[in-house]
Symmetry: C2
Subunit: 204 residues, 2 copies
């Protein structure tokens, strides 16, 4: 006996999700079959609903619900002169939580990684350059992840944007706040040393 058609289809569809292997897909499928129908259908409805209502912002490619432009691009209080470039929409949520940034965003929808088939054309770089040309952008903060792909993307953006006369900056790398020197990996610690700041009275 193998699984019946619709159970197998459910396992297959679940197995396509990122981070869900064949065993997890099976466990999740059986969980869905066991729980009350209403609860399982809530997930199906949430997927359908999200796909219907959520699209990508035509300006910054963030997720947008109920409109062509996302809520941040539509907000007139956000400064247009600073643009924060991130890999994914999730990163915007993380940055917004800090309440430190009042500018706008641009979502690349990935990071430069030719080995995975993500080249310049797969990222929203052309659109970023148009924005820098058309909107009144003074500074582009590159907030891609501090890993291999993110750094490569940052170098790439610097190459494209510097000739346009805009200031390009990169978020700082170093020890996480509350972290422990003893347990830091050597790359992070190296970055922390490299990016050291002179302490002087009267400054932060």
């Amino acid at each position: 006996m193998s699984y019946s058609t619709s159970v197998q289809e459910l396992i297959d569809q679940l197995g396509r999700l990122p981070g869900i292997g064949p065993k997890s897909a099976q466990r999740v499928a059986f969980h869905l079959l066991k729980i009350p129908t209403d609860d399982a259908l809530k997930l199906a409805a949430a997927i359908t609903e999200a796909k219907q209502r959520v699209s990508f912002c035509t300006r910054c490619f963030n997720l947008s619900e109920g409109g062509e432009e996302c809520s941040i691009c539509r907000d007139p209080r956000r400064e247009a002169r600073i643009l924060c470039v991130v890999e994914d929409s999730q990163d915007i949520v993380a940055i917004e939580r800090t309440k430190e940034f009042r500018g706008r965003y641009h979502v690349l929808q990935g990071a430069f990684s030719p080995i995975d088939g993500v080249g310049v054309d797969q990222l929203r770089i052309k659109e970023l350059m148009s924005r820098v040309g058309e909107e009144d952008v003074e500074e582009v903060i590159v907030a891609t992840n501090p890993n291999l792909e993110g750094e490569a993307t940052a170098s790439l953006l610097l190459k494209f944007l510097q000739p346009m006369g805009v200031r390009v900056s990169r978020i700082a790398s170093g020890l996480p706040v509350g972290g422990d020197l003893e347990y830091a990996d050597e790359l992070t610690l190296g970055r922390a040393l490299e990016g050291r700041k002179t302490l002087a009275e009267g400054e932060n």
Copy 2:
């Protein structure tokens, strides 16, 4: 900014699945939002379809598609005199793969674990006893997992079934085939020693 309503709902629903924490739920949600709508809706459809078509077998509580009884219970070639008791439907698939068992099954839908609120009444033990009484069962093989809950369930079943005059057996515990003595944990190795078999010529 936090997530928009339908994105948050999708993350919440995904986060209810077993083995999917808040971070995974977020990753899966964004994956679903990124992929083509058709692909995402396939998952929604698979859930809806499975919940509509799949029910529990009225006899053995295995999953059943298109019928009150599952395909194994409906199969006249399966021997009724041997009943293999498992915790979940997944276990049936695992046992069927061995092609060693031609009897029928009974799914308890869980294992005895009072601390998790699973007592005798939550398991399909009453139904198992009715079957042993009504069907022509000679042997009940208890194939619950060889862990704390599974062993407790096995003891419990022995207590209930032995007075009914049926033979109750338990699947063997020991070293996995292809395993390595050096890396075996002491409990497994202890079980392997305890369950040792006398080797004699002319026997397997």
